[in-house]
Symmetry: C3
Subunit: 242 residues, 3 copies
């Protein structure tokens, strides 16, 4: 019975002292590499690293680690209302279940800090969804894009325009979600947007290094290649057009 009970709950985010006891080398890497070096590197500010980390944790549904990282995000200067928007944004890029689980953790963190970020204005930017979409006939030609219609009106036309989180931060979270789920086929589309919204290539590459620790080396290596290829092609195209 007790073994089954233990199996029912996921492992807690182990307190640092416990990691050092249970797996000293892992504790050493955590202290000296992940927190001692990666988080301290100047190439990406800590607020941005928190956006990257929360986006990656949400994409992979790492609920056990979200409590700590929502708290870190607040410490690093993300406003509570920005966190609400980030969770909402990620519903579209990581999937609804990831957002539903994160809302529960977020609410607990806010309650423990007696934060209430939600004001009356929070729905004011929601555009009406055009009736034409809701009434779209069944049996659409299969290769026309109902998905594209939702993207145009709901995701691009509404979500990205909400005032609660800057487009630059949304682009950083979206980029992280794509790396975390290894959907690098979509990177070319997203990279142009990320640069237009003020992220630099250096910040994105730094984000990939940061993500290596949160989503694993393989996905980061694949993202690094995709990003480098895209940047090289952009540079060639720019130099050619001069």
């Amino acid at each position: 019975m007790s073994e089954i009970h233990r199996a029912r709950v996921p492992a807690p985010r182990v307190a640092p002292v416990e990691i050092h006891t249970a797996a000293p080398a892992l504790g050493w890497y955590s202290d000296n590499i992940l927190f001692g070096e990666i988080w301290e590197r100047p190439g990406l500010d800590k607020r941005s690293r928190s956006i990257v980390t929360v986006a990656a944790l949400m994409t992979r549904n790492h609920v056990a680690q979200l409590t700590g990282h929502f708290n870190r995000a607040l410490t690093h200067g993300l406003a509570p209302s920005e966190i609400v928007e980030l969770v909402t944004h990620m519903a579209f890029y990581a999937g609804w279940p990831c957002a539903m689980s994160a809302v529960g953790v977020m609410s607990q963190v806010f309650a423990s800090r007696q934060v209430n970020p939600v004001g009356e204005q929070s729905l004011s930017t929601l555009a009406a969804i055009p009736d034409s979409m809701a009434d779209a006939p069944a049996g659409l030609p299969a290769n026309t894009g109902l998905l594209d219609t939702y993207r145009e009106f709901v995701v691009e036309g509404d979500l990205w325009k909400r005032s609660g989180l800057a487009p630059r931060d949304r682009a950083l979270a979206t980029f992280s979600a794509i790396v975390a789920q290894e959907a690098c086929e979509l990177l070319p589309d997203e990279l142009g947007r990320a640069l237009r919204h003020g992220l630099t290539a250096e910040e994105l590459m730094e984000a990939v290094t940061h993500l290596a620790f949160y989503v694993g080396w393989p996905k980061a290596a694949i993202a690094q290649r995709a990003l480098s290829t895209w940047l090289t092609a952009q540079a060639a195209s720019t130099s050619h057009s001069r």
Copy 2:
């Protein structure tokens, strides 16, 4: 202590009222887009949407959301015995751990509704596994397919022929699992089977739109491209052969 305790449990499936309090825009999107529009669209019936949703949740191990969606599936007309078969089917397409976790949730849902779907007949269609496979010599040539042998005898020859769930529903669940884990490289093989078993291209494209909300936009966008490419190639091939 209390923080660690909170971190030990994943977030609950937050009750709707709580979502609206904690993240009003997310609640609005849930009510008006996901449940208000997507689930109500005529392009795919609700029973099918439940198959798609449960398959996606199982593939990504979203245990916290399975309670609600097993209940929805029953409401939408999936027989309890079909749900048992769906969970069994998904063991092969999402992996054993996903199925083991889902069995626990499923049993709780059935117990709460006093449903007992399992009769004596449920093992009757299990074909015997050929001894030749169990006795396959070690050191098989590396590029012959032991995996193919299991697929032929166990998955294709046995699982898909079990009477508890129609092949059409198995194909829909399999398609959803592939989209949810972005294994679109396999789509060409599965799409032919899906159409043979009675699914239409329109239903599959509608399933992709539905899945966008459950597995995130990036995977749905990749699946949409793969599906469109395949359909276009099929159409070209058909028109060419006329």
Copy 3:
């Protein structure tokens, strides 16, 4: 309240008797195919199958199944200190959150068996991280490899050289992590290393068959193709160079 409470905890690793009651066919497949055949096949020893399984479970964060499989791993001859190293190794290949969650489960398993694997020597092989890396300037050219620097010094130069787990076992875990997250684009790099460290092509193909049951058929099928393609290319290259 009770439904929400149930939704808060992931499903337990259901005891075998419960699987047979709730989903008899799934129980039958578990007993007769997964445990009756796959685990018993001679192509890969059980200690290796435990490495493959734990690596796959960690990569996909299947915390609920780790208790049982850490226990199995001990039974199959993995030393407790090897399990600590395996968890540490996987932090890099599956991501930090997966390792943090696994450390908690591992500690519980060790406590229940009164095992304490961690000695004074466990940090002794940690090489100093070169200061040059910590001092790397911000604004590195975007397509140079900070990620590569970490890989060279931390992952390849330090982690892989730690004495607690043989390189052959690290290669097997790394291979499993890549298959489990479908990062097969990286397989060519890793396969050369796996063979150099003493794994055979037959063992790797057997691992893919084993993994089919733990990560699902689609990812195994993709890995099988990638592995076969690589082996064929290697064979052609070898025969050509003779």
